[in-house]
């Protein structure tokens, strides 16, 4: 589903991604972990074309993301992304936030997109908040709306960039539950997170990034049981100690 081949990325003079290779199969959940600044967010942003790459190739669902002839807007309809800071549109109601993509981008009729939105709101458990504005919701609710907004486009792939790290502890589980549900429905997902519990249960494989490279990638159980890379081992010790 997603193929990343020898991707290099510079910010000005800063070499952030140093040759990333990655294959993610249809329906697979890949959890991406690593130290701060190791390039996890950058990798995700490259996958849906929010950042350009200077070398290498990224193919999602047979579309070469960084080829100049590729219609990025088309590609992005297939790839949903959920940000750490929600990034809901503050001047639109929850309903509008969810329907704006389907109506304006996919040109689905307002009626139909509204039905989609109602279904999604039910699913994320806040049907009564449709006419609220984002700043009237809790962080956990906002993040669930952000997920619904992405799902409304019926994407083939979902990317999550630390979706729970801006949330108060008591709201983390409501978002993770929703993500688990998605995983069990065989959505292809790439998740950057520090939630090791979630990684253990939901991930098919776990990749550890260090200094712009993938230091280790392995099935979830094996990853925790016997990490091969020295940096992975130290990282796991640290997060499990907490």
């Amino acid at each position: 589903m997603i193929a990343v081949q020898d991707v290099h990325k510079w910010f000005g003079l800063l070499h952030v991604l140093k040759g990333i290779d990655l294959e993610i199969a249809q329906g697979e959940v890949l959890v991406l972990i690593g130290a701060s600044g190791s390039g996890k967010s950058t990798l995700l942003r490259c996958i849906n074309g929010l950042e350009k790459i200077q070398h290498g190739k990224i193919v999602v669902d047979e579309m070469d993301i960084h080829k100049s002839r590729t219609n990025l807007n088309k590609v992005r309809q297939e790839i949903g992304i959920v940000f750490q800071s929600f990034n809901l549109f503050p001047h639109m109601t929850v309903m509008k936030n969810i329907t704006i993509g389907p109506t304006k981008v996919k040109r689905i009729s307002p009626q139909e997109s509204k039905e989609i939105a109602v279904q999604l709101l039910k699913r994320i458990g806040i049907p009564e908040k449709a006419d609220f504005y984002p700043d009237q919701l809790s962080g956990g609710q906002q993040q669930r709306v952000a997920i619904a907004r992405a799902l409304a486009m019926k994407p083939k792939v979902m990317l999550f960039d630390e979706p729970t790290s801006a949330l108060d502890p008591e709201m983390i589980s409501e978002v993770l539950d929703l993500m688990r549900e998605l995983a069990s429905e065989k959505m292809t997902m790439v998740v950057v997170t520090h939630e090791m519990g979630f990684a253990r249960e939901a991930a098919n494989r776990i990749a550890f990034m260090a200094d712009g490279q993938i230091a280790e990638i392995a099935p979830a159980e094996e990853f925790f049981k016997n990490p091969k890379d020295e940096r992975t081992r130290r990282f796991i010790e640290k997060v499990l100690a907490v």
């Binding site: 929010l50 807007n73 790839i79 704006i100 504005y133």
Partner: protein
């Protein structure tokens, strides 16, 4: 319900009382100063408030409003162009926009109007009127150059307002829109501009106030707006204080409501507030 109404009315009472105290105090202070001044300066308000004089003021007011309105439109259009240039992906456009803004922001409008009317218009060897192509009319060259100068000058300020408004919409908002597959134009239309608009309107009203005030300087090119009218009246009858006080009242009558509106809009249009 009943309780709320009582609360509301008592708050209103308080506000009214405060306003009353303010008015009384202001009146006292002004009257005191007035009394002191009248010891050495004979006020003759009845002469100043001659209907003929007020008519002259009203005509001046009309010119001031016309020129300000035209210049605001011109300044806003040009300002938007400059703002887009300053946000464009081409370095040369950005730099040219920056130079334009920095140059005009940093000279006095007075100098600019002198430069335009006595300098630039002479280069074009302007007569007393300027022909407008296509429309087949002639415009008084003072109005023409006055409006041009005011528009060009204000564009440098207005462009900064536009730019700040567009930039204040956080980059993550564009990314969120783009990641839904919206095009550049769509994300501008549905996400960026609606948010920018709310931020732009209050300072734009503020700029309109500044513009009305700047228009007073057009008297130096003998455009008969409010201020020049007052000066001419003073030359006819030397009621300096009276005429200039009336002049001040006229300007306040334009600008105070505007500044009140600007203040209201600022509160009302705060982003993301539920209505």
């Amino acid at each position: 319900m009943a309780e709320m109404r009582v609360l509301g009315s008592s708050r209103l009472m308080k506000l009214a009382l405060r306003a009353l105290i303010l008015v009384v105090l202001l009146a006292l202070i002004i009257f005191g100063l007035y009394y002191l001044l009248s010891q050495s300066y004979p006020f003759r308000w009845n002469l100043a408030f001659n209907p003929k004089n007020l008519d002259a003021f009203n005509e001046g007011l009309l010119v001031t409003l016309q020129v300000s309105g035209l210049a605001m439109i011109g300044g806003a259009l040009l300002g938007l162009l400059v703002a887009l240039a300053r946000l464009s992906p081409f370095a040369i456009l950005r730099d040219m926009g920056m130079l334009y803004v920095q140059m005009l922001r940093n000279i006095p409008f007075l100098v600019f109007i002198l430069f335009m009317y006595f300098g630039v218009s002479k280069v074009f060897s302007a007569g007393p009127t300027v022909p407008v192509p296509l429309l087949d009319i002639e415009i008084d060259s003072r109005i023409f150059w006055g409006v041009i100068a005011l528009s060009l000058f204000e564009a440098s300020f207005i462009s900064e307002i536009f730019r700040a408004g567009i930039q204040a919409v956080h980059k993550t908002q564009i990314e969120a829109a783009r990641s839904l597959g919206m095009s550049y134009v769509q994300s501008m239309q549905h996400v960026v501009l609606p948010q920018a608009f709310r931020m732009i309107i209050p300072p734009l009203t503020g700029e309109l106030i500044a513009l009305v005030k700047e228009s007073a300087l057009l008297m130096v090119i003998s455009l008969e707006e409010l201020t020049l009218t007052a000066r001419q009246l003073v030359q006819q009858t030397p009621l300096n204080f009276e005429f200039y006080a009336i002049l001040a009242a006229y300007y306040l009558a334009i600008t105070l409501p505007l500044s009140f509106v600007s203040h209201l809009l600022e509160r009302k249009l705060a982003i993301g507030k539920a209505r």
